[in-house]
Symmetry: C2
Subunit: 451 residues, 2 copies
């Protein structure tokens, strides 16, 4: 039995507490206390009576759960949401997204796109995100200003872009960012080599050396489509995963994003090296990339986290939707309705994300001593009635709009769906400006002719 | 050019009007006028200035679109939402759902479950639903009281249930309901034989005869799983679809629900007979039933509508989610990101649903002369910014919670997310009662032990 604290900043009396650890279970009649940025108690309500709290919240219709962790995305691409839909990955990138990026990406683009993404994520219960995009310093600054936890993975590419000219410059600027934010507890920095088809083996080898020396994360798009794997075999006589392994890039700090194309040897290699898989079910479906065999990965003991991918390919940054899609898609692909239960899907979006990002000792579950990254979800509306099992409601019957409160590092960033640190009106005006600039909206052929 | 009416009850000035016919296009700078229960004009805003309206609504941030049509569900099963998850179809039915139904289904169960389902559907932009459940007269009454449009398909089974004892009694009671509601413009009644594995060929033959004579719809679960088809072949030496065809049950008034197991001959037969397919993507995924080949069906000219199925297997009644899932799943299954575009998904949830239910001359699109079944969707929140294409936002970036207004038959049933005809508090209290009665909630093993 843990000692009961005398005082707290916030004492919450919710209907349910879903700690995630242990998995698939919940507390009723319990309370949770926050002091500074930590959870200092999860305890029966009657025992909480002695805690002197500055603020007390009665949330009898709400479930408290760990904030969701979006383990893969490109925040600034929110400015390209819906810019080009219903296209396969390669033409979508080559004919639409990359040209639009070449024309528009700048520090200001990243500032506004990241703030839009952060606003959307907070509203849907996310408390930590991983980002891979140009001007990672700007995204880090916006997240820090709002108070959102993040892993910033800086891009590494072999070709010039608006942010850097060659692989060495990407790496130099990225590591400089790491130095700049080393005292910011909300931010971790990792390598974000885009993929094995856009980064040379020589550059990947440098990433491997530096990542090992510095002991930091490597986050990479991998085995996203059948053609990616097939072309790599043609080019290198091996699968991309094997190339990474040879380069020393597969280990417990490696985050392999997508992984739809997997043979048994791939799965064995992932398991043996302790690499993590970041599954982005809706992006994979929408781009017709393929399906990640989540049930098999889980059986092999591989940690699988969830990501939304960027809003340009999803088109939302809503992990409630991803949890539901992950569970449903796993059942369909494995022809087994019992795999990836509601509790497992919730774990993927919380503690598994924390494990992938190497922050599971700090966040990912509601346990005394962990950082207070917490969300409250209203389960009293028609969509979630009746309620036999709160995990089922959270994964299969809510859509993110029921998230009422969002605490990150002990600080309330959304209260009753109102932001505490984002000016929605000013943000919308800036996004409107980008909309006008980026898109001829609407094109004439899209409009109905006047009758 | 159509004549401009002098007067209207309601004149709406929205940001966008998505008429659905024509597909994939939208109006900007246009207004829509409602008089009594009909759309009397869709016209440029300046031309609308002369219309004397009792009420005028400025909705500059909203899209107006036809109300969504949920072409398959079991409304009262909302009381079993989340009662048994992560189970395959047959044990889910035999070990969980059917026993719970045997213990609890009654006229009161159907009254409360139907009202809960209707409340949820109205909130997510549905204006017409199709139902198949016991006590169909009760569901019809609740829908009529709230003012929701519906197709009630009365169950036909060969075994006794709380509602009827044998096929003849199901049919007799169902046809009596049809007589009772024949003057109710909101309600149509059709046959709802459950499936070819629960209804004998003799009973299906009676349904065929009567449906042809009365010229009314037949709505049936069909080819939902591989085992359903395989067992039918073992039993009858033919596929269920072929059995229906021989019985004279396949035609333009036939609604085939699920259809995940289809060979080319099946598709040809559907196309030749003009039967409709009701696709329930989330239910099929969650129960691991299989995937309906929507892209192939569309290519063959078959009308495909969307349904949520019941909340016990989905677990929500949200057609925004189904549109997104239908588009994404079709892309994944056909390995082609270009199939089932946003516009096509929206058509599936509107005009195609109307075609399947035989009411497409009345609803399913926003056209002058049609009945005023209309929803307004707020596109100004972070989730739907920026906006390059409103169809993309509606299908890929909204989740139903952005629906602000819902008009059915010209009557506002939800305004700024407040019901006009449902007492939410009283409804929630009645659902709470069922929750206590149906479920031991929570089971001891689900709860965390006190720390």
């Amino acid at each position: 039995m843990k000692p009961i604290p005398d005082s707290a900043d916030t004492l919450i009396h919710p209907g349910w507490i879903i700690p995630v650890i242990p998995e698939n279970k919940w507390f009723i009649g319990h309370s949770l206390a926050i002091k500074e940025n930590r959870i200092v108690a999860v305890l029966p309500r009657d025992e909480a009576a002695g805690i002197q709290a500055k603020q007390t919240l009665e949330l009898p219709n709400h479930a408290l759960l760990p904030g969701l962790i979006n383990a893969h995305g490109h925040t600034a691409m929110s400015l390209l949401r819906g810019y080009a839909d219903d296209q396969p990955l390669v033409p979508w990138l080559e004919q639409h997204i990359w040209p639009a990026e070449a024309n528009h990406v700048s520090a200001e683009f990243v500032r506004d796109g990241a703030e839009l993404a952060i606003a959307e994520m907070i509203r849907a219960g996310t408390t930590t995100f991983s980002d891979m995009y140009f001007f990672p310093d700007i995204c880090a600054q916006v997240a820090s200003d709002v108070g959102m936890r993040c892993q910033i993975t800086f891009p590494v590419l072999d070709f010039p872009t608006v942010w850097a000219q060659h692989a060495d410059e990407y790496i130099r600027k990225g590591l400089a960012l790491r130095d700049d934010v080393k005292h910011n507890d909300l931010i971790t920095v990792g390598f974000g080599p885009h993929s094995t088809y856009t980064v040379s083996q020589a550059s990947l080898a440098k990433v491997a050396t530096l990542a090992a020396e510095l002991d930091i994360a490597v986050h990479i798009h991998l085995h996203e489509t059948p053609s990616e794997v097939q072309e790599a075999i043609t080019r290198n006589s091996e699968r991309p995963l094997n190339s990474l392994h040879k380069l020393g890039l597969l280990g417990p700090k490696t985050q392999c994003v997508h992984m739809t194309e997997l043979v048994d040897d791939d799965i064995a290699l992932l398991a043996a090296t302790g690499a993590h898989v970041i599954h982005c079910p809706q992006s994979n479906m929408k781009l017709a990339s393929g399906g990640c065999p989540v049930a098999k990965l889980k059986k092999a003991g591989i940690n699988v986290a969830l990501g939304t991918d960027g809003a340009a390919s999803n088109n939302d940054l809503n992990l409630f939707g991803e949890m539901q899609s992950a569970a449903m898609l796993a059942k369909l692909l494995s022809q087994d309705a019992t795999v990836i239960t509601a509790g497992e899907a919730l774990a993927m979006a919380t503690i598994n994300g924390a494990r992938a990002l190497g922050i599971d000792e700090q966040v990912g579950s509601l346990e005394t001593g962990k950082l207070a990254d917490i969300i409250a979800v209203d389960l009293s509306q028609p969509e979630t009635l009746p309620l036999y099992n709160p995990l089922s409601q959270l994964v299969y019957a809510t859509n993110g709009s029921q998230v009422s409160h969002n605490w990150i590092d002990g600080k309330l960033v959304m209260q009753d769906r109102q932001f505490t640190g984002i000016d929605s009106g000013a943000l919308a005006a800036r996004i409107q400006h980008w909309q006008q600039k980026i898109g001829a909206n609407p094109k004439d052929e899209d409009l109905c002719q006047p009758l």
